[in-house]
Amino acid sequence: MSKYTGNPQAVQSLVRPDAVHRHLYIDDELFALEMQHLWRNTWVYVGHDSQVPKAGDYFTTQIGLAPVILVRDPSGDVNVLMNRCAHKGTRLLSAQSGNCGSTIRCPYHGWTYHLNGAIRAIPVRQGYEGTAAMASEAGRGVVRLRHVENYRGFVFARLADEGMGFRDYFGDSLTSIDNMVDRAPAGRLEVAGGVLRYLHNCNWKMFVENLNDAMHPMIAHESSAGTAKAVWESLNMPEDAPKPMVVEQLLPFVSNYRFFDDMGVKIYDNGHSYSGVNFSIHSKYSSIGPYEQAMIDAYGEQRAQAILGEVRHNTVYYPSLTIKGAIQSIRVARPLAADKTVLESWTFRLVGAPEELLHRTLTYSRLINAPTSIVGHDDLHCYRSIQEGLAASGNDWVSLHRDYDSAEEGAIAGTYNGLSEVSMRGQFKAWRKFMAPDAGAGR
């Protein structure tokens, strides 16, 4: 018996302004509906254009459960194609990345495509003469996504034919990407240093919600950051001794509630948000002298200070992407099942900046985001514990009441205190909106 398929009202009733039903995390049918609606109606991060610098370069990934190819065509454009042969559905490219030359050839029956998806050749083509093949779906070639936006190197796509435009969808939340790119003296980023892939046996939303959850670090990360603090203190270094980078990066995780509350959180429509409006756990990193000079040379003193003074914590580009502009790392949620998600952590070189900046980024990403990270272990343990705990009955609701104000039911965009659960309420407001079957058309 399906409870939710074909019953949008039942789906909508799972989200209250200040609480959500446990089925959102554990129900397989709702997961399938999320893939059909939420992950098709929203703009999902595909990849970065520096991953495909030359014509023929490709990167394979997925949007929701749909396999896609990010590929650079000879004209220099970046296309997003469904990774599916028009003939029998074979996944065309199986490597994570590579260069396919000027065409994509199916490994099964040799149908060959241009890099925009159009059919280039089919072996023994006369066999289709007098058939409907070329007038059918097969004749249209590989499906090329029509709604693709390359925003300063970050490529997003929307699967649904109809829906909200890119700018309307993200609005001013794009300023976080701007700040990250502007931090490069040359004004552009390059993916560098490899991708950490961390298998999470939990629902994708737990991760996305956690990014601007400022109530958890001092509890969940007490074991890791707290231990780092204790070990550092046990060394009895002088007060002004320079802290090793790892200590500098771990210690702020156990800042107090006041710190995280004062950090502030900014909420945009459609599920996006960032914390660290006023300052963040990245604010007090030691400066890297030649970098600041390179920034001043590139932008002038005033503008350089403005860029570097913006030290946002996490920005969530709902539902798929979270970025840390101040540290040049991003995390991408790739949902696989209601209780299975792969998190990818990518790192970037600020083009024109000293290589130490990349080293700092890589150190951070390894310390915090790797499958071997003690901070990651803390987080995943909590997510998994929710996944298991929500099987309990007697209380169907997950509370999101902290600092709730009914005014949010009108317009939620605005700046709030950091400890508020408003970023999650904003996400579920968006969830409800983009899960509606007609969300495609909605504004």
């Binding site: 074991s223 071997t372 909590c382």
Partner: protein, 171 residues
């Protein structure tokens, strides 16, 4: 009875191949028996415990790694495991190394550098969950005083590029 691995006296000038091989066996055993404070003592002050993220990854910090731990970070990991607030270990993990016999690649008394290569299987379990990793460990050892010490333990994981679960102990 032999003492802990790190305390076995090694002739000052000339560890034998068998001494080196036994050191590698003992090192894994200390991890598996969770004698992590003793394990920590096996590392030289400037040691590196390194698990690259890709095959053939060059040394240095230009690429992310799975582990790239100096002694400070190793200490943090070991101390964390002792804390009751380490919730991810309230149900503890256990691990088991199964080592192929280490191959001595270099035994250079003059340079005081000894290199071994050890293919391994590593299982890590936590109640109902268990995963197995395969790979090759490379030990770069040196003699400090009377003891062999690890300058570098490099772990080349067979599936370093896979989406991996939490690895909470030490392959």
């Amino acid at each position: 009875m032999r003492g802990p691995a790190g305390e076995r006296p090694v002739p000052v000038n000339a560890p034998t191949p068998e001494d080196l091989v036994q050191f590698v066996y003992d090192e894994a055993r200390l991890i598996d028996e969770k004698r992590l404070d003793e394990w920590y003592e096996l590392f030289a002050p400037d040691a590196l415990y390194w698990m690259p993220l890709t095959r053939g990854q060059p040394e240095g910090e230009g690429h992310t790694s799975l582990f790239h731990e100096d002694k400070l970070l190793l200490k943090v990991r070991i101390e964390r495991l002792k804390r009751p607030q380490s919730y991810s270990q309230n149900q503890p993990s256990f691990c088991q190394h199964v080592l192929q016999r280490p191959q001595v690649l270099s035994l250079d008394i003059e340079a005081n550098e000894f290199i071994l290569r050890t293919p391994f299987l590593y299982a890590e379990s936590r109640l109902d969950d268990q995963f197995v990793l395969a790979g090759v460990a490379r030990h770069h050892l040196t003699r400090i005083g009377e003891h062999l010490r690890i300058k570098l333990k490099k772990i080349e994981l067979l599936n370093c590029d896979a989406a991996l679960p939490s690895i909470q102990l030490f392959p």
